[in-house]
Amino acid sequence: MRSRIREFDSSTLNESVQNTIMRDLKAVGKKFMHVLYPRKSNTLLRDWDLWGPLILCVTLALMLQRGSVDSEKDGGPQFAEVFVIVWFGAVTITLNSKLLGGNISFFQSLCVLGYCILPLTVAMLVCRLVLLAEPGPINFMVRLFVVIVMFAWSIIASTAFLADSQPPNRKALAVYPVFLFYFVISWMILTFTP
């Protein structure tokens, strides 16, 4: 019995690297699916991980960089600024919801907030593709529409996961900072000009 347990414990150490990576990638992918089709479920909360948020944040920050060489005229967000806004924003919102009396753990909340950036990352991709076309008001309207839809999707997804953990008379107080957070990220995406 004991040797069997020891076998089980060391099994993840002895497996090949490909197995480890594929298992983590599958977990991340499963959570992406849960964000894209948000239903009330505990998957994001139960096995939280921060790989997904890291991948999304780095992707978003890289896509918000422009290729221009003259960095003086470049007023856009630097990589570090996007990173700081996303992570410190998520930490602040988590602290806020815990201080208001929510019963969600610190990393679970970070996980949910990070994963719900996925729709906005998709919006960033779409905006970059749209910007390859002719600039003009139609271009802008298309981008505006896409960003608004993805912003709404992010809010709905994160509220579906987070709202239940708050006491009922403080739900609005806990949800408003999430709204502000995704609004700022949407603004950064919308005002991106290459």
Binding site: K73, D74, G75, G76, P77, Q78, E81, N96, K98, L99, L100, G101, N169, R170, K171, A172, L173, Y176, P177, L180, F183, V184, W187, M188, T191, F192, T193
Partner: protein, 306 residues
């Protein structure tokens, strides 16, 4: 019978045994406060006598007062200490915001809304919203003002977010600190009836900044007159909230010092709003004067006419 055993404080074991043995004994648990008014043993789990006393409204009323006073005395390195500053419900936050928007003469914001329970939620998130409102509106208004010019390349200017954040948070926290220190100093000299704690002052300042959020959004309109009217309205509303809040704290004092304090408060408030307007929002002179880069505009105008 089990009732006799129940009256003995130490013997929790007996109560548990009697409960196990006889399911319809009247062992008192917390869910049934009406059963016996006198001293109760704790529930079989033994969760502490103080809880029972407080819940059952025991005749040790001073004990309950001690417990109510103990609400705020967790040591400052625990999380619970900071949770007491966020002990507000949604409707309370809305009420406080409404109170800051509609100053009623004679009604003191602190006494009416905050006295029981100063919170840090409002000040923190109102300042955060204000920072982003100023930065985003400044950006939008500059974009709209320079819309037709060929030489203007739009940049989102995220530097301004950090500057706005520094300014707003410094104002919302350092000015209350200075004011609190000043009031404490005057309190030691002159006996004032009304004295505010530091958190209450932070609360008033935070909520009084709320009016600047719609003001900042409306500053996108590129008309100088409109902007200055907005400044006056916002200053009037929030300045009067601040003045009416702090007047009772200084009116016992020397007349000149009291007036100087109120004037300084309002002046700093005005400095904040005018400074933000001047720094983040470009002046809309282009609407009235012929632009120096006249050639592209003339060609655009000529193209429109033809």
């Amino acid at each position: 019978m089990a009732a006799v055993d129940d009256l003995r404080f130490e013997e929790f074991g007996d109560a548990a045994a009697s409960l196990a043995a006889n399911s319809d004994t009247t062992t008192i648990s917390i869910e049934d406060p009406g059963d016996t008014p006198k001293h109760q043993p704790g529930p079989p789990g033994g969760s502490g006598r103080e809880e029972d006393d407080e819940l059952l409204g025991n005749d040790d009323s001073d004990k309950t007062e001690l417990l109510a006073g103990q609400k705020k005395s967790s040591p400052f390195w625990t999380f619970e200490y900071y949770q007491t500053f966020f002990d507000v419900d949604t409707y309370q936050v809305f009420d406080r915001i409404k109170g800051s928007l509609l100053p009623v003469p004679g009604k003191n914001f602190v006494r009416l809304y905050v006295r029981s329970n100063p919170d840090l939620y409002g000040p923190f998130w109102i300042c955060a919203t204000l920072v982003f409102a100023i930065a985003i509106s400044g950006n939008l208004s500059n974009f709209l003002i320079h819309l037709g010019e060929k030489t203007y390349h739009y940049v989102p200017e995220f530097r301004k977010v950090s500057i706005a954040a520094t300014v707003v948070y410094a104002y919302a926290w350092l000015v209350p600190l200075a004011l609190w220190g000043f009031l404490m100093w005057r309190n030691s000299k002159v006996m004032n009836i009304v004295s505010y704690s530091f958190l209450e002052i932070v609360c008033v300042y935070g909520y009084s900044l709320f009016i600047y959020i719609p003001t900042a959004i409306l500053w996108i309109i590129p008309q100088k007159a409109v902007r200055w009217i907005l400044v006056m309205i916002a200053l009037g509303v929030s300045g009067s909230v601040l003045a009416m809040t702090f007047w009772p704290a200084v009116r016992e004092d020397n007349r000149r010092i009291a007036l100087a304090t109120i004037v300084t408060i309002v002046l700093l408030h005005m400095l904040l709003s005018v400074g933000c307007l001047a720094y983040f929002f470009d002046a809309p002179e282009m609407d009235h004067l012929p632009t120096p880069t006249a050639a592209p505009n003339q060609t655009v105008a000529a193209a429109k006419l033809s």
